[in-house]
Symmetry: C2
Subunit: 259 residues, 2 copies
């Protein structure tokens, strides 16, 4: 049986924090391994002799840190750390497209994860001002909007939305759900726009409630946002991709010349 210690009313930390600290330590040290169920609220109330809200406050603490997930009707479970994926700066190298692999799938497989994609939606929309500026098109132009969700080993790790000028995407598989081998970048090159380089803008913040839902993360888990603009060899922007990643699942690697 798990030794859950006890709380000290004379401690300067409040009881709920003491309980959170005890549980956190058990998780960190592996007495509560990933996937394991925590004692139920009722058990913790009984064990520590505190009120319901006090126990819930402690659990909330751990949920906010992303250490545990609560499942309605089932229990609270130690969160299994998502596999960390390193994104090298050559992940869009042409050789991957030549091999018929989209960037995410190629990258995830080399990292030993099982990648999958779902919630693919393709629409034709008016362009937003932010995207129009990056694509150097007018506000009245239309764009193909492709959004999708990426999962690694079944866990959602990223949602992405691509914007491709209608002028480039029209009549190509880019406007279809299935873009074929090599992904949309391969199709953009098929359309005569050889890719030259990308710019990426990286920042991080807390997720919105909707992002929390689609990424299946609790409060207290930050996300990274990455806005990538792809340019062809004529320096024409051919795609803007706005991605929201579960921060803890990624390390982004870049190479910067000292010039």
């Amino acid at each position: 049986m798990l030794d859950l210690g006890s709380i000290d009313r004379s401690d300067d930390r409040p009881p709920y924090r003491q309980i959170a600290d005890i549980l956190r330590e058990h998780i960190r040290q592996g007495q509560l391994p990933p996937g394991e169920q925590l004692p139920s609220e009722a058990e913790l109330i009984e064990y520590y002799g505190v009120a319901r809200m006090t126990v819930r406050e402690a659990i909330r603490e751990l949920r906010g840190e992303g250490l545990v997930v609560a499942m309605h009707g089932k229990g609270v479970f130690v969160r299994s750390a998502p596999p960390v994926r390193r994104l090298a700066s050559d992940r869009f190298a042409r050789r991957h497209r030549k091999e018929g692999k989209a960037a995410f799938l190629a990258e995830a497989e080399t990292a030993g994860h099982t990648p999958s994609v779902d919630q693919i939606r393709v629409t034709n929309e008016m362009v937003s001002p932010e995207v129009a500026e990056r694509l150097k098109i007018t506000r009245r132009d239309r764009v193909i909007v492709r959004s999708r969700r990426y999962l690694a080993d079944g866990q959602p790790v990223e949602v992405a939305t691509s914007y491709i000028p209608e002028k480039i995407a029209k009549g190509t598989p880019i406007a279809e759900v299935d873009t074929g081998p090599g992904g949309i970048y391969a199709r953009i090159e098929d359309a005569g726009h050889q890719l030259a380089h990308f710019t990426e803008e990286v920042s991080a913040r807390m997720p919105t409630p909707e992002e929390r839902k689609v990424l299946d993360i609790g409060a207290g888990i930050p996300v990274m946002t990455l806005v990538r603009t792809a340019y062809d060899t004529d320096d024409v922007p051919v795609e803007v991709c706005d991605t929201v990643k579960v921060a803890r699942a990624y390390v982004l690697e870049y190479d910067v010349p000292a010039m």
Copy 2:
């Protein structure tokens, strides 16, 4: 007077979430500008006709998103956004060093902020395994450790720790508090190591309690970590710089070849 709407008991969202949504919308639309005090718990209880815990739950929601800060004994206030600084991928270009400016100062000035640096500490230590691996030196080598805090307009935005092999730094201003014009990269080049390129590893997470203190941020504010390794023209690693940035204060920009 602020129109705070009302809650709908037949709505499928629970009351605490409705209240959070209403307040969030007011903040987003500017009816509750940065620095403004939210109605007190007592006022919200009175206004919506709910219990204390319900109101606190709503406020907790907003705190977790980093939208507001609660100050014990004073009230809950809309958080003011710090100035966002864009870090372009050419920020370490040689021309900046030639002009005698360290990267942070050069960048901040062009962005129109008042930069400053404090809490500079310089020590000579044993190298940690992580740094040793990046610097390609043995675990028994020593490194010069330079840590400092950066502020923009008086607000802390970043703490950084640099590790330079003792072999390179010995007898140079790198081991002094004041490194002279152009910063440590200028001094490394003076020492005969012409810089060729950097690698940067970017990730994001919630801050530790100590980081919260030195960066002067409350709970609910994520940080970005950036580990930069500098290489000279012989591809020898000459510096590792580990930085922790207040995420909301930065956008990192990179250029990636499509190759």
